[in-house]
Symmetry: C2
Subunit: 116 residues, 2 copies
């Protein structure tokens, strides 16, 4: 299911340009247009999932794919050895800006604590 009004559904469908690092039948990875670290990649499912609140055991296979791609991208971008951070925002207090599940992968600098 995709939503014609959803930015990331349209991006996944190729209707919106992005600097894509990975695409498969379930997952797309692309650079954040407003990077917060030397490496800042977003990972999204093609299928519309509103946020991590909608994830559970039935999305296990999708999550496995998302995290597998995250690890692959981390290696390819050269941040696997020194480390990185994966973040997903849910709702207003989380700072979620697009209501389509996305994981931020940030690396290439030392990330501080707390995480926002």
């Amino acid at each position: 299911m995709s939503d014609a009004n959803c930015l990331f559904c349209r991006l996944a469908a190729g209707e919106i340009a992005a600097d894509r690092l990975h695409e498969d039948d379930e997952v797309v990875a692309f650079r954040d247009i407003n990077p917060q670290a030397p490496v800042h990649v977003l990972l999204i499912p093609r299928r519309h999932v509103a946020s991590a609140l909608d994830l559970g055991e039935s999305e296990g296979s999708l999550l496995g794919r998302l995290f597998g791609v995250a690890a692959e991208v981390a290696h390819r971008e050269g941040v696997a050895a020194n480390g990185f951070r994966l973040v997903t925002n849910i709702g207003q207090n989380g700072g979620q800006s697009v209501n389509h599940l996305h994981f931020h992968l940030l690396g290439g600098r030392r990330l501080s604590w707390p995480p926002g």
Copy 2:
């Protein structure tokens, strides 16, 4: 597989005290001892997984369980409606402090950007 030298393996085994919010055969959730937000919960697999770099399609079922428990805890802690953030740190640049996969769930305040 569990590691006798790993803090979170020992916590999952009940050898170390924690303020536990959830336990099942695969996942344990407990409050962070150094909270960075009004709600700050850690979610870990019982099984030793070093970090998110070791996740992929074969861990899909575990990930589905972890995210399902995260959503459940968010509802129970009263942060689902207003939002929250999920974070996992990998290696030194990520700020990973315990080498056993854990997800931070932070809520109860507005999380800022960048996430560290």
